[in-house]
Structures are given as structure tokens and as C-alpha cells.
């Protein structure tokens, strides 16, 4: 069977790097695309070829479908891997890629469309007997939503029908907040997805987020690659994922995986995808939340416990190959935990941060995998997602994996931008996490109001800092990591001064 000669990766950051690595191992040439902000980015440096696709704003570059298609055609790529985010779940993009005679490395266009529409997905899952979260997905004028909300009860979620990744989503605690939340969610949805339809879903505050990885070929074979537990979230986005889940037993795992396969079959799914469930640990009930029709950020934990390279299999499946394994051949071996290193200010409500990575030393060692999109000297900018890298620890059991991760994080050096590294350590060390007692609101409940920044520096830190002031003055060449010691240099001002300009 013929595998591709050349693949274009319509993405950036760590996921573009991940796909480029898979291509390299398979002997496939990789084509990166980049915006003005990413001219020297790691994915551009690593790819065999790189094509400029536009200015920094994503709408003009990584979301610019015609420009990306043109880049693929001109570079003679045979297939496009969309990564996650950007155009990965854009059915229109998948269709246009296929209409251009290229292979889209992902599921059928119809499956993306059906699952990308939360209202449509809920209807089809209900019809197939897959349990969905109590909610409402029909006429979405404000009056209908108000009536439906009354029936569902509070608290509830207002969600963009076209949404994902925590965008266009609002929690509403009582009826008085509903109108405001509907307005805000509509605006955000219109802006982010160009589609302002909304659905309502009951909000289960102490529930867990558990998802199942699906892999299906184009010849009717479909397997699941077990679950990922993703309950540690802040701002409704995951920060720590692991497998196996500490709260599933074999009976539940069997029931949920069967539901996941059923959900994927409803839309005749092929390639890699993930069925997300909300699990209520008190009632031992689970509900379909959504299906992500793409590779997930957290795919490494699954790769480590199953030994399957998901990205390589995405490419093989897209080329028409048969799945190499049957369900009964797959086992979960050991335990894997992933931590997402974000440029963000934990004490400032986990808001994203920007800055240069003056120094970034990735952790290493037995059982440690790092998926990074940046190296020292790169910069986290305002334009894109602030994910710096993913650190995954693999060990024989959960306690060992946690210890391995703690050791890895404490050896990670990251200077130049605030990050959540220390916060991740606090989470991993907490009793609740160690006993597997977390839920999707746990971070907010436990860490709200006590987000003390890093404690007072030890005398040694202050002495080292003072010493460096003297040493770097004596020998400035010793510090290439020293970005700029002259605070008055006009070249480093952050304001909008332009010589000869209006300001």
C-alpha cells in the first residue's frame, strides 16, 4: 500500500512538531506553514519545507483555508494533517481539501459536521441510545431557551452549538443570570465560530471528565484505546490528564467503551477520534458530552499505555491501511500522566501570559516524554494558544507515575515568562489528587483565594541574583541568555512609538 511522499501540516506549536516527527520516522517529507509571528518557530525549523501563509492573526494565516490549500498544491503535498484547534474540526476545510484532490488526515466530512454541531450530535446520540447530559438542543430563540432552562433547572451550561475548547460556554447559577449569559455566549460563539446557535446542558458540578480514544480504519474495523481521565481543569480547559482513570472499574470501563464505539459508529467514524463523557461518581452514571473528531492534545498518555503511535496510525488509516490490531489484542499497560505547561499567571485567574523563553530546559529521564513546540530563544505571543509543552510521565503504577512527574517538573527550567509549573506541582502533591478524588471544578474550589505565588525566595536565591549583577557586568559575553541589560535601550521599548509616526 502506498503511503504518502509529502504531507502538509496545517498547524503550529507542539502539535505541528509532533506530526513532523511522525512524518520523519515514516520517511515522509513534511511541509510546515507559518505566519509572520512564527518565521523562526520550532515547527518551521524542523520541517523539510516551510511555506509562509500570512500575517500573525490566525484568521489571516492558520485559519486561511484558501492560502493553506494553495500552499499544499504548490508544495506538491498529497495530504494535509490539521493537528488540533484551528481548522481541525472545520468540516468545510475537510471538504475543500478532499475536493482539491488531496487527502484529509481525519474523519469523513459528514462525521465532523454531525459531531461539530452539539445540537445535532445530541439528537443523534439520543436516537442511538447513548445517554446524553440532560439538556435542550432545539429552537434557540431566547424565549425557548428561557423556558427550557426552567425545566432543566439550575445551575446549567449555556453552550455554543458549534463550540469547543471551553469557548462560547457559560455557567448560569439562576434565572436572573440567564439572559446576560446567553448574550455573552452568542457574541463569543459568533466571533469564534461564526455561528451563534446555543444549546443548554445541566451542569453537574462534582462530575468527572472521562473520554475514550477511538481508532477506526476505512474498511469497517474500529477499536477503542481505553480512557483518559481529564478532570483536572481550570477555566474549563484540561491541565492534567492520565490513564487509566483512578475511578473506573472493569464493568464501567466496558460500559463506557461500548457507548463510545456506538457513538462513533452512528456517524460512520474513521481515523482517530475521542468520545467525551461526563461521569457522575456518586450515581455511577455517565453521559455523552461530545465527540472530538481529531487528535487530542492529551493523546500521548494513550500512546504510552497502549504502545500505539496514534499520529502514525492517523496517517496510515488516511492512506487506506487496515488497523493492525483487534480489540482483544489491546491492553493498558502501566500508568501515564500528562501535565500541560502553559505560559500563564496562576495568581491572576490563570490568565494567559506572553513573553520570551529566555531559558527553557526540558525535563528528561527514564519514562519521561516531552512534546514541546518551543526552545530557548522562542517567544510566546498574544496571537496563539499559550501551551508551551506537554510533559508525560510513564511508570508501572499511578503513585510511581506521580512521583516521576514531580521529579520531572522540579527539574524543568523556564525563565522569561510566568508559567503554571509550580502550580502543577501543588496539584500533584495534594491529597485529593493523590487519592484520585478530583472533579472538573476541583481546581477552582480548592485553589480559589489561596493562590499564593511562590514563597519568599531563600537567601541563596537573592545572593545568586546579586552576584549575577556583578558577574554579568564583568563578563557580559558569558550570558547569551541575557537578553538586554540596558533598560534605556530604545530598541526594547514596549510602547507603540514609531520614528516619524503619529505617536
Amino acid at each position: 500500500m502506498k503511503i504518502f511522499d509529502k504531507i502538509l501540516i496545517a498547524n503550529r506549536g507542539e502539535i505541528a512538531v509532533r506530526v513532523i516527527r511522525a512524518c520523519r520516522e515514516m520517511g515522509i517529507h513534511s511541509v510546515a506553514v507559518y505566519s509572520d509571528a512564527d518565521q523562526k518557530a520550532m515547527h518551521v525549523r524542523m520541517a523539510d519545507e516551510a511555506v509562509w501563509i500570512g500575517p500573525a492573526p490566525a484568521a489571516q494565516s492558520y485559519l486561511n483555508i484558501s492560502r493553506i490549500l494553495q500552499a499544499a498544491v504548490e508544495s506538491k503535498a498529497q495530504a494535509i494533517h490539521p493537528g488540533y484547534g484551528f481548522l481541525a474540526e472545520n468540516a468545510g476545510f475537510a471538504r475543500m481539501v478532499r475536493e482539491s484532490g488531496l487527502v484529509f488526515i481525519g474523519p469523513p466530512t459528514e462525521a465532523i459536521q454531525a459531531m461539530g454541531d452539539k445540537a445535532e450530535a445530541r439528537r443523534r446520540m439520543q436516537a442511538a441510545g447513548v445517554p446524553v447530559v440532560p439538556g435542550y438542543q432545539d429552537e434557540d430563540d431566547n424565549d425557548s431557551l428561557l423556558r427550557a432552562a426552567h425545566e432543566i433547572g439550575y445551575p446549567l451550561f449555556v453552550k455554543a452549538a458549534a463550540g469547543g475548547g471551553g469557548k462560547g460556554m457559560r455557567v448560569v447559577n439562576d434565572a436572573t443570570d440567564l439572559s446576560g449569559a446567553i448574550g455573552a455566549a452568542r457574541r463569543e460563539a459568533q466571533h469564534a465560530f461564526g455561528d451563534d446557535r446555543l444549546i443548554l446542558e445541566a451542569y453537574l458540578p462534582r462530575a468527572r471528565h472521562i473520554e475514550f480514544q477511538i481508532l477506526a480504519d476505512q474498511h469497517g474495523a474500529m477499536v477503542h484505546l481505553f480512557e483518559r481521565e481529564c478532570s483536572v481543569q481550570r477555566r474549563r480547559q484540561k491541565i492534567i490528564e492520565e490513564t487509566p482513570s483512578p475511578c473506573l472499574d472493569d464493568r464501567l470501563r466496558a460500559a463506557m467503551s461500548a457507548a463510545a464505539l456506538a457513538a462513533a459508529r452512528v456517524v460512520e467514524y474513521t481515523n482517530a477520534g475521542t468520545v467525551e463523557f461526563i461521569f457522575d461518581p456518586h450515581q455511577h452514571r455517565f453521559y455523552f458530552l461530545e465527540m472530538n473528531t481529531r487528535l487530542q492534545v492529551e493523546h500521548p498518555v494513550t500512546e504510552l499505555v497502549t504502545g500505539i503511535d496514534l499520529v502514525q496510525w492517523q496517517i496510515r488509516i488516511a492512506a487506506g491501511e487496515h488497523l493492525p490490531v483487534r480489540q482483544e489484542q489491546l491492553v493498558q499497560r502501566g500508568h501515564a500522566i500528562e501535565c500541560r505547561l502553559y505560559a500563564e499567571t496562576v495568581e491572576n485567574d490563570f490568565l494567559p501570559a506572553v513573553g520570551p523563553l529566555l531559558r527553557f530546559i526540558e525535563p528528561a529521564g527514564p519514562g519521561i516524554r516531552v512534546d514541546s513546540g518551543f526552545t530557548s530563544g522562542d517567544e510566546i505571543t498574544i496571537h496563539y494558544d499559550p501551551l508551551i509543552a506537554k510533559v508525560t510521565a510513564f511508570a508501572e503504577d499511578r503513585p510511581s507515575a506521580i512521583r516521576r512527574m514531580l521529579s520531572a517538573l522540579s527539574s524543568t527550567v523556564l525563565l522569561g515568562t510566568p508559567s503554571n509549573t509550580h502550580f502543577l506541582v501543588e496539584v500533584l502533591k495534594s491529597d485529593d489528587f493523590q487519592h484520585g478524588r478530583v472533579h472538573t471544578n476541583w481546581v477552582e474550589e480548592i485553589f480559589q483565594g489561596q493562590r499564593a505565588p511562590v514563597s519568599e525566595p531563600a537567601p541563596a536565591v537573592l545572593i545568586a541574583a546579586a552576584l549575577k549583577e556583578i558577574l554579568s557586568e564583568k563578563n557580559p559575553k558569558a550570558d547569551s541568555a541575557l537578553r538586554n541589560i540596558d533598560p534605556y535601550s530604545p530598541w526594547d521599548l514596549n510602547d507603540r512609538f514609531r520614528p516619524g509616526g503619529p505617536q
Binding site: 463569543e188 498574544i382 522569561g416 541563596a460 545572593i463 537578553r483
Partner: protein, 166 residues
């Protein structure tokens, strides 16, 4: 020689530190409060500093960004700042005085107030957007808008002035 730093790390009120350093042959004597330390420099290359402090070997990574000094030691990163003319301001302090600063680098998507209008506590005044997130800037107390410092479409840095109310 005295070196002075403010501790940043997002602390609402910066702490002041003073470290005295005296050269002692190839080594240094450091003074912090009433403590005195013997410091030997073992290695200083590419921002990686290894010292022997009162007999214990310690390693640090260091980088500078204008007035800021980043120091990593033993799993933690610290941000210190050399006190200078551009010492930064703090959102929470400023908000109490009616100066509303941007909580993060972002683009201004909507400006819903003008100079001279009255706003009530909790009223949304500005909507910022960054990394596709919507951040509503609300009035911390009721008052009159004294100044609108930004306009729609513009980008703002963290701690940049957005609106002033009194």
C-alpha cells in the same frame, strides 16, 4: 557593594531586599540582614551559575529581561526587579484608586463607555479578547468616567491603563 531587588512573582505588594557583596580574594562575602555567607563561584556559563554557599554546592539558572531578573533554583522560578524608573504598577492597587488596568496582554474588542458618563458598580465597560477568550472589564465601584485610554481594535499590554473612574 549593595544590590537591591523587589520581589515580583505577582505578589500584590513588592518586598524589598538588600544584599551586600564584598569581594574576598577570588570569593565573595554576602550580607543579608544580619546573616553573613561565604560564597565561592564554581562555574558561571550561559546563565548557569554554580556556587558554594557556606560549604554547600548550589545551582541556579539566570536570565535578564530589561529590569527583570529571572532566577531558577531547586524547582522554583523567581522574578526579581531592579528598582528603576520603570518599576511596574499593580492592577489591584490601581483599581482601588479608579485606574482600571488590563489584566493581560489583549486586544480591545469593545469600548462601552465614554468620558464623562456615570457607571455603576459591576457594569461592563470594556471587553478584551486574547487567545479567543473574552474578558469583561467591569467597574469596581460606581463613579464617573474620567478617562478612556484605549480604543476599539487596539492591543494593550498587561497593566496598561484602560479606563479611569472617580
Amino acid at each position: 557593594m549593595i544590590q537591591r531587588f523587589l520581589l515580583l512573582n505577582g505578589a500584590p505588594l513588592p518586598n524589598n531586599y538588600e544584599i551586600g557583596l564584598e569581594q574576598d580574594g577570588a570569593d565573595y562575602r554576602a550580607r543579608l540582614g544580619d546573616q553573613v555567607f561565604k560564597v565561592e563561584i564554581l562555574d558561571d556559563i550561559e546563565g548557569r551559575l554554580t556556587i558554594r554557599l557556606n560549604g554547600t554546592v548550589l545551582q541556579f539558572y539566570w536570565a535578564a529581561d530589561q529590569d527583570k531578573r529571572w532566577v531558577w533554583h531547586n524547582g522554583c522560578s523567581y522574578v526579581l526587579e531592579k528598582p528603576g524608573p520603570r518599576t511596574i504598577s499593580y492592577s489591584s492597587l490601581q483599581a482601588a484608586q479608579g485606574q482600571i488596568l488590563s489584566p493581560m496582554p489583549a486586544q480591545v474588542r469593545l469600548v462601552d463607555v465614554q468620558q464623562g458618563v456615570l457607571v455603576s458598580q459591576g457594569q461592563p465597560m470594556i471587553i478584551l479578547e486574547a487567545m479567543k477568550m473574552e474578558i469583561r472589564i467591569i467597574a469596581p465601584f460606581s463613579g464617573c468616567v474620567k478617562l478612556v485610554a484605549v480604543r476599539k481594535g487596539q492591543t494593550v499590554a498587561r497593566d496598561e491603563l484602560l479606563v479611569e473612574i472617580e
